[in-house]
Symmetry: C2
Subunit: 447 residues, 2 copies
Amino acid sequence: MAEAADNPRLVIDAEAAAGAIASVLRDQHPADVAAAIEDLPADKLRDVLLELPADMSADVLMDLDEHARVAMLEELPVSEIAAIAAELPSDDAADVIGSLGDERREDVLAALAADDRRDVERLLAYTDESAGGIMASELVFVSEDDTVDRAIDVLRAAAEEVEGVHYVYVTDARRRLVGVVPLQAAALARPGTKVSDVMLTDVVTVTTGMDQEDVAEVFRKYDLVAVPVVDPSGVLIGRITVDDIIDVIHEEAEEDISLMAGTREEELHEDSALKVSRIRLPWLVIGALGGLGSATVMHFFQLSLERVLALAFFIPVITAMGGNVGLQTSTIIVRSMRTEHGVSGEASKRLVREWRIALTNAVILGVSVHLIVGLWLGDWRLAAVVGGSLAAVILVAATLGTVMPFALKRVGVDPAVAQGPFVTTLNDIIGILVYLGLASAFIERLA
Amino acid sequence: MAEAADNPRLVIDAEAAAGAIASVLRDQHPADVAAAIEDLPADKLRDVLLELPADMSADVLMDLDEHARVAMLEELPVSEIAAIAAELPSDDAADVIGSLGDERREDVLAALAADDRRDVERLLAYTDESAGGIMASELVFVSEDDTVDRAIDVLRAAAEEVEGVHYVYVTDARRRLVGVVPLQAAALARPGTKVSDVMLTDVVTVTTGMDQEDVAEVFRKYDLVAVPVVDPSGVLIGRITVDDIIDVIHEEAEEDISLMAGTREEELHEDSALKVSRIRLPWLVIGALGGLGSATVMHFFQLSLERVLALAFFIPVITAMGGNVGLQTSTIIVRSMRTEHGVSGEASKRLVREWRIALTNAVILGVSVHLIVGLWLGDWRLAAVVGGSLAAVILVAATLGTVMPFALKRVGVDPAVAQGPFVTTLNDIIGILVYLGLASAFIERLA
């Protein structure tokens, strides 16, 4: 009690505080509320959320970052999660319920109304990163024989449940998509106009199995705000809105940078040094093992190094060049695989391109380093070995940087892995091997 | 002629071909047309574009990737560019005209209608990467005293000129924004309803000077499809739509990855090895100079290396660790500066966090490498030097990775530069300095 008295914050009653916070927050945008409270401990977060009106707490929940959301859901009773899920669009409800443990997931599903449960169960069956996994089931659609007035009525009936509608979809008797009516066209049409007279029939659609990255590319290419999702026979089963696509694009960019940097943004929410270390260590271990591999190579060439110690001085130049050239090459290859713009075609065609570029750089850098080393140490034979190996290492690194993404893709691994530490480490070892191999051969011959 | 006869493609009359291509393309989506033709040489691209109807060629032009668009614009006469610009929304017209050389820019502006010219000139005055630089001037707005019917009429009058309208903006007598009416609400309102009864007044806006990256964050946070742009006194002057924001997010991610990889996606459109080499060489030169810096350090410690050659073996371990830890740290610091999520606060607070993580990794990796080197070479004194320096290098790299982004930000440089080759190269040199410095001190003492 003495401690509490010394620190007045500790004597505030937790429940009263949550109520007070909630009443201040009630008039704010849910995204602002989420930003204001997401760094609270999970149990305090829950207390605030429980004080907010149900529809608002559902919106706030979805605006929390994923880490805070998952932590907070663990603190919520099943009945509350079910109540919130009932307020959410089906895609968000599926995300929330999908992030629960198996047992609680079943309990929440059992507590939902039958049609909500069916929607969520259907969505949970799709792979997370597919169009099916990010679509919502709520749809506003009419028949091609209907009038625009009828479309407006359907829209009005759905207004409570479906937010952010930009298109009314038009389907045939078997619910196959035949057109879309942009809201703007619906609002402007004279009463009595038939839907088929104002609908657009050249509709961009995606299928449930499409990878979310490809869906994002469709949005970007056609400048969409929403896309209908159809099954293989053209039956309309959902829609994806652009706000979810913005999240996808962020996630994918995040993933690429994480692969290159060897850590994940997630760790920002982690206070324990041990847990962050567990995220970062794998990359460091790869680097350390690679370094020990390089040490083994140098150990093997010990005799040459003893004879000409200065050979060792230039190992950092060799590994830096191998690493940089390898990363430049693999990054460009991976990007070109993604965008399919500019350079494209077979691996062999791109390899020729990369070789031409690497040869240019190899000549420029090889000659420059040759001159610098020669002028510095006055040993032109050593200078030739360093400059020549540097050029060779640049060509090898460019080859590896081109071939690896294609090889990874063939075995079903994300080509972007080639931008990570594996290839850089491999380049270090191969670079030193090439350098000391060439150097030894020269020194033997010239000795 | 013999050559042409041998290769039938060469005898096709270029103009007839462009016409034939254009007639096939006329029914396609402009984005598909752009994708199909953007790899053609600029003059052929121009021929096809000139055969398409004016509104379609304007759309296709905007769907070309930037590289193809700029190349093609150089082939177009001023009068054609002005005709296309007149078909485009003001933001696209400003992009097109802004990408021309000074002289042609003036000529195109002079050829535009007075109000189009005024719009474009106003937009060109804003910085490229600001809200003003990406907004369009076309707006659908009504007064707060108007009825919804009037809003629909205004929308109808504007339908030709303004595409993709999602909101009707509501302004007061001095054109200050007071609310927005979502199209859905306008479509559903009973005739005669006053705009002020259905408008939302809690509007998210951005100001002209806001950085495009921050605008993108606003879209992401509030799940928007369009945002009104206001001047400092709240007067409505433009709007930004989500399709432009998707391009911004792509660009920014691209920029980050380019900084890390040391090359730019642009090079994919470049066939000349010399020109690509010019893009990549600066990074390689930094790496090479850094490597030569490392060589100088090793040269300085030549005596120690001669006495214990095995010290050289572990240089690659030291540089790999310094590079990886530095990159992990700087990446996380840069990310946390951007998102303002999770960890935040002063540089000193984050430095403490990074030190705790680095200390954990340093102990684990230092002890492991100590054991491996000791068991391998049987020299436990050398093993202690390698393990101890490795730990020291990890701490130094973490410090540099934390401090650099803050330092760069303070001097007005993009903190993301800290993820590039400068810091990795600096880490290499400092790492070798620390390692050989410690090693020499130990060897002297123990010798």
